[in-house]
């Protein structure tokens, strides 16, 4: 269920990972990508693939769907996920782009704002249901979005915007990221004066269509291919490849987490991909069946035995409970391992939700 302005003060613990030194090159890269150095960089810097993935998502790699609709999708998904961090940021961003408080409140309250087109309403509806994933929407829901007036490429980007927010929301909530200074700034008297300048600097520009990356032979290639024509395809490919190439957690552990999240979401594609990758890692299918059936096995290492039940809990959660759980899991892990585990859980949740685009193919 959602988060309203009235409920924005929900329980939110101390950030789970400490502040870390940020390599100057990474800081410069982030500044160039998003136009500023966000507060989260100092927390996430030990996981460069996660930092780069977040920057690319924030930049809105959208060429076909209306950016205004994607902004609203981001807000309602953050509301559904009860992510106080992302909700605060996205609300501030909408205000910077000139949306009135009353409009944002009405949108958050019931999503039925008179100014919304039927297509935008359909996009918000699918975004909400993708976020809840109870049950996870399927190909028919994607087709309904197309019938509501989006081209297939635009509908795929709407799905990307909604599911991509599964990454930012989970990183924000699971790690209990502290609020960005931007959130309090939009309430200050100076804000009105500098708003147009901020809006000009921050507003993402529509991007040109891009072919799907080539080669596209990494994990979950079919989902990436389904975004062909959108810059989102390249963002997804680079983020998945970066995550799987990182040596902080073994590939087997990360792929097992993907398998668990796919099973929880009933995502046949995600589970199939995980099976293929784990077979290549030498895990016999029968053993994987046992692990997935019981979320455990004496053959898992101690870290896997902690991370697989945790992966399951990242699918649907209440913020305070998942933050407690993340804190427990983090006890025996280094900050780098915590960041990678949360990042992988977030990415797997996103990919398994995005696979609605291939259900429709």
């Amino acid at each position: 269920m959602g988060l309203s302005a009235a409920a924005a003060n929900l329980e939110w613990g101390e950030c789970i990972v400490p502040v870390a030194p940020v390599p100057p090159a990474l800081r410069a890269e982030v500044r160039k990508a998003v136009g500023a150095v966000p507060g989260w960089l100092a927390r996430l810097a030990p996981s460069p693939w996660l930092v780069r993935g977040l920057c690319e998502i924030i930049k809105r790699p959208i060429a076909h769907a209306p950016l205004e609709v994607c902004d609203l999708v981001t807000l309602v998904v953050s509301q559904e996920n009860s992510c106080r961090y992302c909700y605060g940021v996205q609300r501030a961003v909408l205000k910077i782009f000139g949306q009135r408080d009353e409009y944002i409140d009405a949108l958050v309250r019931d999503g039925q704002v008179g100014e919304l087109t039927p297509a935008a309403r359909a996009a918000l509806d699918l975004a909400r249901r993708l976020t809840r994933a109870n049950p996870r929407p399927g190909g028919a829901d994607f087709e309904a979005l197309v019938r509501a007036g989006f081209s297939r490429a635009a509908a795929a980007e709407v799905v990307f915007a909604a599911a991509g927010n599964a990454i930012t929301n989970r990183v924000g909530t699971l790690l209990a990221l502290p609020p960005e200074p931007l959130v309090s700034f939009v309430a200050s008297p100076v804000f009105r004066l500098v708003r147009p300048l901020l809006a000009w600097r921050m507003r993402p520009r529509p991007r040109a269509p891009e072919p799907a990356p080539h080669p596209d032979d990494g994990p979950c290639a079919a989902v990436v291919a389904a975004l062909d024509g959108s810059p989102a395809a390249g963002v997804l490919r680079r983020t998945i490849d970066g995550a799987w190439a990182s040596a902080v957690l073994p590939r087997r552990t990360k792929t097992l987490m993907l398998a668990v999240i796919a099973r929880a979401l009933g995502c046949a594609h995600g589970e199939g991909e995980a099976r293929r990758l784990l077979a290549a890692e030498g895990l016999p299918p029968a053993e994987l069946d046992g692990i997935l059936a019981n979320l455990g096995s004496p053959r898992l290492d101690a870290r896997e035995a902690r991370l697989l039940p945790f992966a399951r809990e990242t699918v649907r959660y209440q913020p305070a409970a998942i933050q407690r759980r993340t804190r427990e899991v983090a006890q025996g892990l280094s900050p780098e391992e915590v960041l990678e585990a949360v990042g992988i859980a977030a990415l797997a949740n996103a990919v398994c939700r995005m696979s609605v685009v291939i259900d429709a193919c």
Binding site: G2, S4, A6, A7, D105, N134, A264, G266, N294
Partner: protein, 267 residues
């Protein structure tokens, strides 16, 4: 001319006052609307613990939900053994306090394992796993909940003993099967519930805990879906009311994360 100017000034003052009043009223209304939205959202969150989110949304939007579906769930029935006899000897206030302490501890054990307490029936508890959200691990969750209930009751009994009060004993029956789930009831009283033979069988299995002198019993359908790291022992089939053939059950002894898969012992 002077009169005209004075009249105009009066109109302007009145307009300014009216505008100020209107703005204050609008702000107050907006504040009340935001507060109401906050309350509605809290209510929605609270309701989500009692019914699936889609059912809650139906009820909020239309006042009723006609959504009903067949789904595979794991049903857990818990009941206090010999509580009626105990109740006759206790002061009513004390009795209710003991019972509430029991419900609170056991409900927490259930919800901590993703179960949903569907209702309290006298001193019994009906809990469902996999009813409110898709849950491929519902049967393991139910068995873990039963073991957590066993531990919670042991703790509670220690606290009761410290106060010089009698110990409680419970029986738990777990069965997995297909039920019809939906909003059931009349205009005066409705609830999200499940119906079907799976619910009845879980209740009957719970009754068998007395005959077998164990606290947690599961059916073959549960055993087949259960993590092999649970240690079970098979018990002889017994007749139960409403079923033509005797029902075989398995007592749940413990869960050991380190043990390898094992076959339950035969009686």
């Amino acid at each position: 001319m002077l009169i005209l100017a004075a009249a105009l000034a009066a109109v302007v003052v009145a307009l300014v006052l009216w505008l100020g009043h209107t703005r204050r009223t609008a702000a107050a209304l907006e504040e009340r609307l935001a507060a109401a939205a906050g309350s509605l959202e809290s209510l929605q969150q609270a309701f989500a613990r009692f019914a699936p989110a889609q059912v809650v949304e139906d009820i909020i939007a239309q006042g009723v939900s006609t959504r009903s579906e067949k789904k595979e769930v794991t049903v857990l029935f818990a009941d206090l053994k010999d509580f009626t006899a105990l109740a006759e000897h206790l002061d009513p206030d004390l009795l209710v306090r003991i019972l509430n302490g029991y419900f609170e501890r056991l409900s927490r054990a259930i919800t901590n394992h993703r179960g949903h307490v569907a209702k309290f029936i006298g001193d019994g508890i009906l809990a469902l796993f996999g009813a409110l959200e898709e849950n491929p691990w519902q049967t393991n969750d139910a068995a873990h909940a039963a073991l957590a209930m066993r531990a919670a009751l042991a703790d509670y009994n220690a606290a009761l003993a410290a106060d010089g009060l009698p110990a409680l004993a419970m029986g738990v029956g777990i069965h997995r099967g297909t039920v019809v789930a939906g909003v059931i009831g009349s205009a005066e009283l409705i609830e999200y519930g499940v119906i079907g033979s799976a619910v009845n069988l879980a209740a009957r299995v719970q009754e068998l805990t007395r005959a077998h002198a164990v606290d947690v019993l599961v059916t073959a359908a549960v055993r087949d879906a259960l993590d092999p790291r649970f240690t079970l022992h098979a018990l002889p089939p017994l007749e139960v009311k409403g079923l033509p053939a005797p029902v075989g059950t398995f007592a749940v002894d413990r869960f050991d994360a380190e043990t390898r898969a094992q076959t339950p012992s035969t009686p």
